[in-house]
């Protein structure tokens, strides 16, 4: 089973490397867009899915990352300095946002983070001297490194893919470490986790900060992909969409963001045939998907297994009852 999983992962990675080479430029662009959202929602999956902190402010970090890189590049710094700064900046802001989570939980926390998102968005829109306001920041260049120019769509895609793979491996390692166990303990029962000696205070803050750092990196890559940023993608709606991606893909499943981001980014593109109605179809699809698989797409194997087991159990019970009554008739 483990070997199979490894082989499947390898095949998936090979597909991610090979397929975009055969696509037209819009297809490559879309794949890159998708991968960037995968990076961002990986972070949110850590906060929401593993640590159980209901965060609805992820797009704010995405935006902070994007603006950090854009503003720094405008000031003449390199992209390669901007990207780590975006991650660090978001990590710091994430730590601060974690503090309300120490006081309030569940829906209150969701609205506190949502409020934070609105505040960040208002700053992006109104502080024109820094962010260009609604006009945004134009002509964000794509980076160069080691003689490779990432200006072309395909080259840039490979850059994003590389960063996504590295970040995924980091997250994988993190989740397998005692830290990862502490996060899930925090989600499942904070009081018991505390009584077992887990410092829930620092883990709550860390879950926000690490998740935010992922969004920051994704934001930096996003600005450079689109080459133009304005406050629009970083609204509360953006955060809600990311939350939707995590839950639809399967929150707390490592590969959930891959599917969730596909639903959020690629599905609407596929639905373009429905023209003016495409977002209506999308919304309806999300509702139906939730009713069908409340724990997300990746819970499908679990649901099927549970169904098979329960069918088997009821068949066994029926057989046992039959045997029992047959014995009774004999006696």
């Amino acid at each position: 089973m483990k070997k199979l999983g490894f082989l499947l992962g390898l095949a998936g990675l090979a597909a991610l490397i090979l397929v975009p080479g055969m696509l037209k430029s819009h297809g490559i662009y879309l794949f890159t867009y998708w991968l960037i959202y995968v990076i961002a929602t990986m972070g949110l999956n850590l906060t929401v899915g593993y640590a159980g902190q209901k965060s609805l402010g992820h797009a704010a970090f995405f935006g902070i990352g994007a603006y950090t890189v854009a503003v720094m590049m405008q000031a003449g710094f390199s992209f390669w300095l901007g990207l780590p700064m975006a991650a660090l900046g978001c990590f710091a802001v994430g730590l601060v946002l974690g503090f309300p989570a120490l006081r309030v939980q569940t829906i209150y926390l969701a609205f506190a983070t949502l409020g934070f998102n609105t505040a960040v968005w208002l700053v992006m829109r109104n502080e024109e001297w820094l962010t260009g306001g609604t006009f945004g920041i134009n002509n964000i260049a794509r980076p160069k490194a080691l003689g490779v120019d990432f200006d072309g769509n395909l080259n840039y895609y490979y850059l994003v893919l590389g960063i996504a793979v590295v970040l995924a491996l980091v997250l994988w390692g993190l989740l397998r470490s005692p830290w990862g166990k502490a996060f899930t303990a925090l989600r499942d029962n904070p009081i018991r986790a505390e009584s077992l000696g887990i410092d829930i205070r620092s883990y709550t803050l860390l879950s926000f900060a690490i998740g935010a750092a992922y969004a920051g990196v994704a934001g930096g890559l996003f600005g450079s992909l689109v080459q133009f940023i304005d406050p629009a993608p970083f609204t509360v709606d953006g955060s809600i969409m990311m939350y939707l991606m995590v839950v639809v893909g399967g929150s707390g499943y490592f590969l959930g963001p891959l599917l969730g981001a596909a639903v959020g980014v690629i599905l609407p593109e596929w639905l373009r045939f429905a023209q003016a109605w495409y977002l209506f179809v999308f919304g309806t699809a999300v509702v139906m998907l939730m009713i069908w698989l409340p724990d997300g797409l990746l819970s499908l194997p679990d649901v099927l297994r549970a169904k098979r087991l329960s069918r088997q159990a009821s068949a066994d019970r029926a057989a046992a009852a039959q045997q029992h009554s047959a014995q009774g008739a004999k006696a």
């Binding site: 209150y108 939707l244 977002l279 309806t284």
Partner: protein
């Protein structure tokens, strides 16, 4: 100073509409643990229902009554049966995401099926202004405020004074004991959804003349309703009224005296302060954590 009072009164009118949406929101939360992210769209849809009835030739009041009935069926019964009931046992996250999907679907169905342009909407109240001790107050503001407050008070009285209302409160407080006492729990929960739909329809007829009927009118309204509900106290229905009025008034004053660009931040700042110092809301009761 007259400016101040003028802003204060029109803020009260807006705030009372927020209160209506917020009240429905808290009732749903209390009775069924549903966080309705489509609450704004629940106000938007009846507005378009009324427009539909009116273009079919009905007068405003008749369209309002018809829309109320239709809202109870669609936004009350259908919403409960189709979305909430199947997801109820899976906790908060799936319902939140399903209502997000629902809000996207409703918004865009109206946009594609009716119009993307804002539609004018007739005013329920006469277009008149009064002069009260030097302060100009419009009939719309007075009417809106009076109608909304009356509705909130009637809902309160219904919840506190009638047997059905008390049964609904019992369900909200402790579902199991309520069902042991012979209360028909599913029916009480349905009543809550029906009341939410009615309040939304009432909010629609009050808010649309000023804000115009538009597919995305629910967005900011829904947000304000959430904040108002939490500021007042999420587990207390009187809190929704208080929260709504506070948000409406402060917003109006801040837009005039501080900066219109940060008007939307006002609800947020009050909300943050409340969350930090009194997380259960101004009128809310503290809920103890269970292991």
């Amino acid at each position: 100073m007259t400016d101040f009072f003028q802003l204060f009164f029109s803020g009260l009118a807006t705030g009372s509409i927020y209160a209506l949406a917020a009240l429905g929101f808290t009732l749903l939360w209390q009775a069924s643990g549903t966080i309705n992210f489509a609450q704004g769209e629940f106000v938007m849809l009846p507005a378009f229902m009324m427009l539909g009835f009116m273009s079919a030739g009905c007068p405003l009041l008749l369209s309002f009554v018809a829309s109320c009935v239709l809202s109870v069926v669609v936004l009350g019964w259908l919403f409960k049966r189709g979305v909430v009931d199947p997801l109820f046992k899976y906790g908060m996250m799936p319902i939140v995401v399903a209502t997000i999907g629902l809000s996207i679907a409703m918004r865009n169905a109206v946009r594609a099926g009716y119009s993307a342009e804002p539609q004018p909407f007739p005013n329920l109240f006469p277009d008149q202004v009064y002069d009260l001790f030097g302060v100009t107050v419009s009939a719309t503001d007075i009417g809106t405020f009076a109608f909304a407050i009356a509705l909130v008070l009637v809902t309160q009285a219904f919840l506190n004074k009638t047997v059905t209302g008390r049964a609904m409160q019992a369900v909200a407080q402790n579902t199991e004991s309520a069902s042991v006492l012979g209360i028909n729990v599913p029916r009480m929960i349905f009543y809550t959804f029906a009341i939410n739909a009615l309040l939304a329809a009432a909010a629609a007829i009050l808010v649309t003349p000023t804000y115009l009927a538009k597919f995305d009118m629910g967005g900011s309204l829904g947000n304000k309703a959430f904040f108002a509900a939490i500021i007042g106290g999420f587990n207390n229905s009187r809190g929704a009224l208080l929260g709504g009025l506070i948000v409406g008034v402060c917003e109006n004053l801040a837009a005039a005296y501080i900066s219109p660009a940060y008007k939307d931040a006002v609800a947020l700042i009050i909300f943050m302060v409340v969350i930090l110092f009194k997380p259960q809301g101004l009128l809310g009761k503290k809920v103890e954590r269970k292991v």
